[in-house]
Symmetry: D2
Subunit: 294 residues, 4 copies
Amino acid sequence: MRERLHGIFPPIPTPFDAATGEVDRPAIAANVKRWMTTRLSGILALGSNGEAALLDEDEGDVVVATVREAMPRDRLLLVGTGRESTRATIDASVRAAALGADAVLVRTPSFFKGQMTTDALLAHFRAVADASPVPVLLYNLPGVTGITLTMPVVAPLSEHPNIVGMKETSPELERLGQFAALSPSFRVLCGWAPVVQAALTMGASGAILAVANVLPDKCVELFDHVAAGRHAAALALQRKLTPIAQLVTTGYGIAGLKMAMELQGFSGGVVRAPLLAAPQKARAEIEAALHAVR
Amino acid sequence: MRERLHGIFPPIPTPFDAATGEVDRPAIAANVKRWMTTRLSGILALGSNGEAALLDEDEGDVVVATVREAMPRDRLLLVGTGRESTRATIDASVRAAALGADAVLVRTPSFFKGQMTTDALLAHFRAVADASPVPVLLYNLPGVTGITLTMPVVAPLSEHPNIVGMKETSPELERLGQFAALSPSFRVLCGWAPVVQAALTMGASGAILAVANVLPDKCVELFDHVAAGRHAAALALQRKLTPIAQLVTTGYGIAGLKMAMELQGFSGGVVRAPLLAAPQKARAEIEAALHAVR
Amino acid sequence: MRERLHGIFPPIPTPFDAATGEVDRPAIAANVKRWMTTRLSGILALGSNGEAALLDEDEGDVVVATVREAMPRDRLLLVGTGRESTRATIDASVRAAALGADAVLVRTPSFFKGQMTTDALLAHFRAVADASPVPVLLYNLPGVTGITLTMPVVAPLSEHPNIVGMKETSPELERLGQFAALSPSFRVLCGWAPVVQAALTMGASGAILAVANVLPDKCVELFDHVAAGRHAAALALQRKLTPIAQLVTTGYGIAGLKMAMELQGFSGGVVRAPLLAAPQKARAEIEAALHAVR
Amino acid sequence: MRERLHGIFPPIPTPFDAATGEVDRPAIAANVKRWMTTRLSGILALGSNGEAALLDEDEGDVVVATVREAMPRDRLLLVGTGRESTRATIDASVRAAALGADAVLVRTPSFFKGQMTTDALLAHFRAVADASPVPVLLYNLPGVTGITLTMPVVAPLSEHPNIVGMKETSPELERLGQFAALSPSFRVLCGWAPVVQAALTMGASGAILAVANVLPDKCVELFDHVAAGRHAAALALQRKLTPIAQLVTTGYGIAGLKMAMELQGFSGGVVRAPLLAAPQKARAEIEAALHAVR
């Protein structure tokens, strides 16, 4: 498993049917099959970009099953299973494993921010790792959760036999550098596309990038450049990718991501409320940014 | 309804059975019955202090049903029904109403922080208010959600016929003062005990306070003092209540609240992971703070 | 001194000559004389609103001398003397005292945020208080400095014989409530106009308010209402004052404050760069808000 | 000038005499002469690490004159001249130029945070750049100032003929990547040692690092590795340098930096209040971290 945690993974969106608002299984399957024609290392289902926070438990299971069915076994299926309670996180991890997840990605609980001490976080992740039938990746996304995993939590957890690595989603690379230095077998995946070249240079073994849904080949090419030591080429490509990567994340969010996917021939679909559709002007900006990458 | 939104409401904790970890219905019922012997105006179930974030949907329904059964109809049952998606919030509100909620309290969605624009928040709360069978209270708790409701959102929503007020949980009173000035029929409840005297003076019509679970009579007494213009007496009581109010919220969280309830003869019970039990030293501090109020 | 720290104080702006950009002494004197016809308890010179951060040391001395000359001795002259270094703070305090300051207001040093531990803050304020020829007021303004004075710093300092009180500039009143409860002789002045009624109710002995430059009588009237227990009248006046108080602080800053002063017949003058003049639309908004108070 | 803005620069501390607390000129000169035996590209005087915030204007001039005298003309002398007011910043820049500064580094004004709009920042930096006799570098250090320079400010300023680049002091590299991509002639210097390898890979032309005061050769070696495409060697060295770099900045601040300098045979000296001496335990930690680099 640890060896396979390298390269590029898209955190796939969940297409909804425009008429019913329900999860669109055929659209998911079609997207996955097309992604699988590229050299992506696998897929993350039910991440932030999968609107997992807006799905109910049954819908999440449907997404995982649909993705797994459309993917060959030799590509990694990562599934987001973080919940606020430890027991719901374990339940979700057990269900994901049963549906074919190769590993689970567990974000920090964050509702009770003031109580998420080092001890609380250690106990939570250890309980999940002990109970999960498949390996666990920690998920640090302080911009969303308001909780930051730091060395006093991550270092001890990196020694747990069922915790194989983490996703670090932040423009800050000081932490990522420290996590990547912990051990060669503790794999760090970068979740912030505008700094992915730098993260890979600092020891990340791969990346989970919204923009990889839209431009999978370009993202893999960037990864290859760094792996082969072609840093000048990597920087040139990074600079081309950054604008579109920003538009589909901090710029227009998932609505922007789905719009960009549609423009690239994937099924994007609508977003679920309270998310709003992207504004009119987004389309031209996204088209221009996509065009600039070619 | 609007007239009844005054006075003191406890945001009740959810006791769990120490052996099984499951919701302890008899304990809830016993607590509610005892609270109902006081002059509390009603109860908030499934608020933050109810560990609602750690309950699954079925458990939440059990809590609401249990509370309603133990409460006379003439006391208000408020139920927290905020979820990340608009449709799950509506579903929860419909279910709560069916189980006897008199109004629902809807916190801001917050996972997709960057996308929670004024337009998105307006659309979300309007959709919920349109669909909810019972009146809606907005719930602003920026310290937990990272999202702050401000006048450009609250002022238009205060005119919706099914939005009757809000809970403002913050030590900042500038916003509360503005909200309370919007209209006499838009009721503002304060959620931050150490400033409750001030909030009531600025126009709040009542309060939802963790410490009211522990010392309901004292909280009602403070409310009465302000209502009767006895501000010096109110200040003296406020100063006595602040230390215990802090210990059961920002100090030791829900674990501290449950410990304080046990010390007062209520059923507190354990907390659910990832929350941890209060540390050893908490007990003496809480006892001392309780003692100081008498 | 402690007994005189009550009532309303304006943190006076520093008028600059529009042609030369230099401190306009006659304008200061004229303003002070007019303020002294009201029941203001005194004046704060060289506070944040005095653009102290934009003055050099010599200019600051000129301001203090000019104000003192224009004020009767029985009104309090408070002077802001906080600097980043302890020794510069002491120097400024000694100079202010020599020029007639009755007390000095010392903001938290903040450049080296990461190093401003409880120990560092205690040592700084104690050194200043030991050396200052006149009493010291602590100045907490976290929104500007990024440093927050809390009980572990303020409680011990409140026992220093030469520290007579503090100014708390924040919409948060939990801290203010705790500080005001420390001791009747430790005087707390509120610096946030939209919550001043509440702060006075919670035990503040007075307030230092930008809006008091513009509407001194109305601010004194609000203070009197609270002191006399007329809380309903206080609330009504608070609600009238809040909009103009916001426009001259968080709304349009010092440029807005100076504009409002001009509209009321005081000398406002230009602001110093990098501050910019208020935008066109500010004038109508400020006029309307002033009109609404009458 | 622009071509010379590459490589490593130490932001030199200001040694104070332990007995008098005054600036220790001979110690400065001795340090500078020793740094000049290395391949450092130049020196930054009066930066944050120079305790510039704690010096008065005369002391600052003494520091600049002393450093220039001890440095050959072919090494760059950068001088921090940012002040809160535009005119004081210009004055300081003119004086620094007269004393031999090759360029000035101008941090964002930050006291009036709420008023530091894009327009205000543009006007400030343009006025300074127009008036400065030597080229200007922008200085972004959001962790200290609470103000963040972003593309809408930096992009237009990068076209000013007298603005030659900037220092970006943050662990976040998304902004740095964008700034470095603006134009090859707009030079970006990284100010955050734990991510310096990554920053150089993303297009920074050099770095200003506290740890370069302590280990100048190692920092130059890291720079050379990246410049020569030896990224694996760079990463290995980065990982060795990060712990000591953290101890002399976010760990123990300037007191830690001065202690580390003493251990390496430089003159460190005491810090000026309100900064406190490093705690006892710092020495062993710093020694160990220094040892680990060899």
